[in-house]
Amino acid sequence: MKINEYNLSVRKYSDALYTFGMSHSIGREEAEDIVQECFAVLWNKRREVEIGKAKSFLFTIAYHKIMDVFRKRKRNRKVKIEVIPTEENWEFDKKKWIMQELNNIPAQQRSAILLKDWEGYSYNEIAEIMNISLEQVKVNIHRGRKALRQKLQFLKS
């Protein structure tokens, strides 16, 4: 990968990586740090990584960094404040509720769903990024979606 290709990757994928980090509700600063770390690794390994594989390479690193953050958080878990939707604002705030509930499902399921819905990766690609089997990806995504549906149905009811 040449310098201009690396710079192209920064312009193209930094927003997506940042959004991916932010979607895991890890905080703005941590998300920024993760993006910077991802590109630092990419720069160091630019001779090995081709431009066509830069995106999945970056998301792989980002995913593992996010998992590291979650591992650290488990030690001092904070109490989550949830906003319960009402019938009046359900449709209006649906997007917000979905994202809120997304944070309540396991991180691995969340990551798989985010990679599928936002980045459009196939199950195979997600398996590669998350370093898990295809079947595990399938299970994670389906479980996550079902859990999301259940929680939102519960909130709606």
């Binding site: 310098i3 201009n4 690396y6 710079n7 920064v10 312009r11 930094s14 927003d15 990586l17 940042y18 959004t19 932010m22 979607s23 998300a31 920024e32 993006v35 910077q36 590109f39 720069w43 997007k95 979905i98 994202m99 997304l102 769903i113 985010l114 599928k116 819905d117 936002w118 196939s122 199950y123 399938k138 995504i141 389906h142 979606r145 079902k146 999301l148 549906r149 939102l152």
Partner: protein, 268 residues
């Protein structure tokens, strides 16, 4: 095989576009038979994550600038240019000094007054060619030709102000014709017909201004003394050496005896 236990998974895979055409058709057929699951498809579709975009503001910090590659040829080209400049300067200075030196020689040769005490060069030449060997005669002829060329074909070049020649060398150069004339005259007087002299012998005996290196000669010239005496002395000294070589005088002669011998020759 699709049934009520795995229909949700099939629907989710269908929504995600992970089913192939055969599986998709099988699901669609199953939904035709079981329309109650059609709502499930719509429901799951609504739970697909809405696209949210955050903008990363620190892109500029991540961008890398292309390093300006310092061309390896650049310092080399500078060094080469400097060398060429020095070379040119050296050539110009050296060329000018050599030109001025040459022009001065030509100028002096043109302006040098005729030697008053020297014998007529023509007569000397005649006498020499009769007395000396063939080699000596040819040498003298070429010297004369060279001298005449210098005087006739000399281009007029302006004299430079700076005089890089040392004083001794300058005086000798100025009096080069006198030195040669004196030497030739003395040689003619000393030349015994019995000794067959070669060109080498002649050049070793007759000192020419440019080859004189005797300290005595230099000292005399430096003091602006008459150059006749030291020239004769050198001729006599060289001649004496020659006589010694031809065993005309004893090789065991001491410096003192040689000096006496020399004085006798000088006072001929």
């Amino acid at each position: 095989m699709i049934d009520h236990t795995n229909i949700e998974d099939y629907i989710l895979s269908y929504i995600d576009g992970e089913l192939d055409t055969v599986q998709s058709r099988a699901l669609e057929d199953y939904l035709q038979i079981h329309p109650e699951y059609k709502d499930l498809v719509e429901e799951f579709s609504t739970y697909k994550l809405p696209k949210i975009e955050h903008t990363f503001d620190k892109k500029d910090d991540l961008l890398k600038k292309k390093k300006k590659i310092s061309a390896p040829w650049k310092p080399l080209s500078i060094a080469a240019a400097v060398l060429i400049l020095f070379g040119c300067a050296y050539y110009v200075i050296h060329y000018e000094s050599s030109q001025s030196h040459r022009s001065r020689e030509i100028h002096l040769a043109e302006n040098t007054p005729q030697n008053t005490f020297a014998p007529d060069p023509v007569s000397v030449m005649k006498r020499d060619t009769t007395v000396t060997s063939k080699g000596v005669a040819t040498h003298k002829a070429t010297t004369a030709a060279h001298r005449s060329n210098q005087t006739t074909a000399a281009p007029k070049i302006k004299k430079t102000k700076k005089d890089p020649m040392p004083k001794t060398r300058r005086i000798l150069t100025e009096n080069s014709r006198d030195v040669t004339n004196i030497a030739e005259m003395r040689f003619a007087q000393l030349q015994p017909s019995s000794i067959p002299l070669t060109t080498k012998d002649y050049t070793s005996i007759v000192p020419r201004a440019h080859y004189i290196s005797s300290s005595e000669m230099k000292a005399s010239v430096a003091d602006n003394q008459d150059i006749q005496k030291p020239v004769m002395r050198i001729v006599a000294y060289n001649f004496n050496k020659l006589l010694k070589a031809y065993d005309i005088i004893s090789s065991d002669s001491s410096d003192y005896s040689i000096t006496i011998n020399l004085n006798k020759i000088i006072n001929l």
